[in-house]
């Protein structure tokens, strides 16, 4: 029976980010939130392994109280329990803090054989929390994993590296970070959505933590990455297409 923990993050949907005027300031006033893209793969992988091998899946997230909305979504994807560690100050954690908080919460509250994280979060894409967490817990880890096989107390993982596949083995308990190519996350059905509302959630707050986790990184600025473009739109009429070709000629980019 495999006890699996999956770590997921509730993030701003980057498609909703607007830039206010020429100042390059980010306008986050109308953004929606989502479960970080690759964490959906992480949850799916945890649930698939559990379906194959039996055992349990617990989803853990650290975030501000508003991240509570994520729990229903996460639980509708299959985990049977969620642990929600929240504090108003947790809306801008840096990876060192997140990993340290996760390490304390997991050590004190959960048993595990396997921890699954995403390759990187959609907002920070630091790719740090997974390996940092493994280091804090003193367990082996494999990053960029595309395939997981578990035999007895051993994990075999295929890592997708730039120059090819590397297959590694390690004893459990272990941590892996998964690539989006590892699976296609299921779309929760109505019954799964309704079922999620009834699943248990363990709520923890900063007060329940022993450590005081100060940030090691300080953000000194956050500005939109802008791009000056002409943004001229044309229809698919042949005359319009000719205009585009003329423009490309004039720009000197085709010859």
């Amino acid at each position: 029976m495999l006890k699996i923990i999956v770590c997921f993050k509730w993030v701003i949907d980057e498609a909703d980010i607007k830039v206010s005027g020429k100042s390059r300031e980010l306008d986050l006033s109308r953004v929606a939130y989502k479960i970080s893209d690759y964490d959906r793969n992480a949850i799916e992988e945890a649930v698939r392994l559990q379906e194959q091998l039996g055992g349990s899946v617990v989803a853990v997230t650290v975030g501000p109280p508003t991240a509570k909305q994520s729990l229903k979504d996460a639980l509708s994807r299959g985990p049977e329990k969620a642990v929600f560690v929240s504090d108003p100050a947790f809306d801008s954690l840096e990876p060192a803090q997140t990993a340290a908080i996760l390490a304390e919460v997991i050590t004190k509250n959960l048993e595990y054989d396997l921890i699954i994280c995403g390759e990187g979060s959609s907002d920070l894409y630091a790719q740090q929390v997974g390996p940092r967490l493994a280091e804090k817990l003193g367990i082996p880890c494999a990053t960029y994993v595309e395939k997981i096989i578990i035999k007895d107390k051993e994990l075999i993982a295929e890592r997708k590296m730039r120059d090819g596949i590397e297959v590694v083995s390690m004893p459990l308990p272990a941590l892996v970070t998964v690539m989006p190519t590892i699976n296609t996350p299921r779309i929760p059905s109505l019954k799964q959505v309704l079922g999620a509302a009834k699943k248990p959630v363990v709520n923890l707050s900063a007060k329940d933590l022993e450590g005081k986790y100060e940030p090691c990184l300080k953000t000194t600025s956050l500005l939109a990455a802008t791009m000056e473009r002409k943004r001229i739109k044309f229809t698919d009429d042949p005359q319009d297409i000719r205009k585009v070709v003329d423009a490309l000629l004039k720009e000197g980019v085709i010859s």
């Binding site: 109308r30 929606a32 929760p188 059905s189 109505l190 309704l194 509302a197």
Partner: protein
Amino acid sequence: MSDDKFTAIVIGGGPSGSTAAYVLAKEGLDVLLIEKGDTSGSKNMFGGRMYSHALNRIIPGFWEEAPVERAVTKEIITFLTEDKSVSVICQNDNWAKEPYHSFTLLRAEFDRWLASKAEEAGAIVATSIKVDDLIIENNKVVGIKAGEDEMYADVIIAADGVNSLMAQKAGLRKDLEPKQVATGIKQIIKLSKEKINDRFQVTDSYGVAQLFVGHCTKGLHGGGFLYTNKDTISIGLVINISALRHNTIRLVDLLEDFKNHPSIAPIIEDGEVEEYSAHLVPEAGINMKPQLIGEGFLVVGDAAGFVLNLGFLVRGMDFAIASGEAAAKAVIEAKKSNDFSKSALLAYERYLKQSFVMQHLEIYRKAPHFLENERLYGKYPALAANLLTKMFTVDGGQPRRLFGTAMNEIKMSGLSLAKLAMDGWKGMRSL
């Protein structure tokens, strides 16, 4: 509540559905609200302004917490010719005092908020789920199908908007005819708060609702609208589909022309298009009202055709909200006797009749027919604009008496006085 049975299932998390779910949940009933979008409102659009009265009765002082943009204090109606315009402006700052008369707002945020109110009140909200079908047993609607899943309820409320497949599946309505729907297109244009305040001469929280008749639709049955939000402008056109069918004009081009009109271009200058959307509007008023009640089944909001479309003005949010409330009240009553038959649900019609919903639709019953008159969108706006430009033009020539000028313009426009009088009379009776 047993595992897969609710008292009510509401299909669609727009304003009508969320309101129904909210009212039911407040009363302690088991209610499930199903919305196909990622979040309620994520794909919904409308012109831009909601009258407050309906929601204020259900959630008093809702503006304290709801994501509204600006309180409308200035109403403008503008008649357009190709290059001229005449506007009637009505400003009333009392409209921005409690209970605020109307607000501009953006649906993605507003609908999300209203659905969250229903959830807070105890409704179970399932998003990203599309209802595919109804489960009908012995002529009674008993549940819904979504993908592989079936879910049962004493009563199902169809709040799935203008194209309501659910009302069709329940056999309460037929496909819409082109004449019965208009299509609306809209852009949201980003403009700084300061520029909006400057150009429309309003302060931060005050806003403008401007409606256009005439050349913006190239004489077709429909109109233009412009609403000011906090730091964006909603601008668009609504055009009857049958009018559009007989023309080769494309809506997108019409909107571009509209934006380039000399009366519009300067007020949206430097604005960046942030979003583009299109949506249908039920147009035929009370005449297209489907049957509203079936065995275990109610139809609300746009699905029921509860929209007042006067060509230049579309009003549906307050009808959606009030009809959602009326349906919920009928279900609450039905629950008391545990009878959800068609006859028990007739209370819905009663509540509608008592409310402004039926009263207002009744008053405007003749409007759709009157509004089919093409003169309203071509000749009359031109007449008004030409008349007034003549009146204001001083060029050293012989001044003309206003009456003479008017008669002359009428003659030039090719309208007979009898027709004009007829249209005037009809308009007064139907609008």
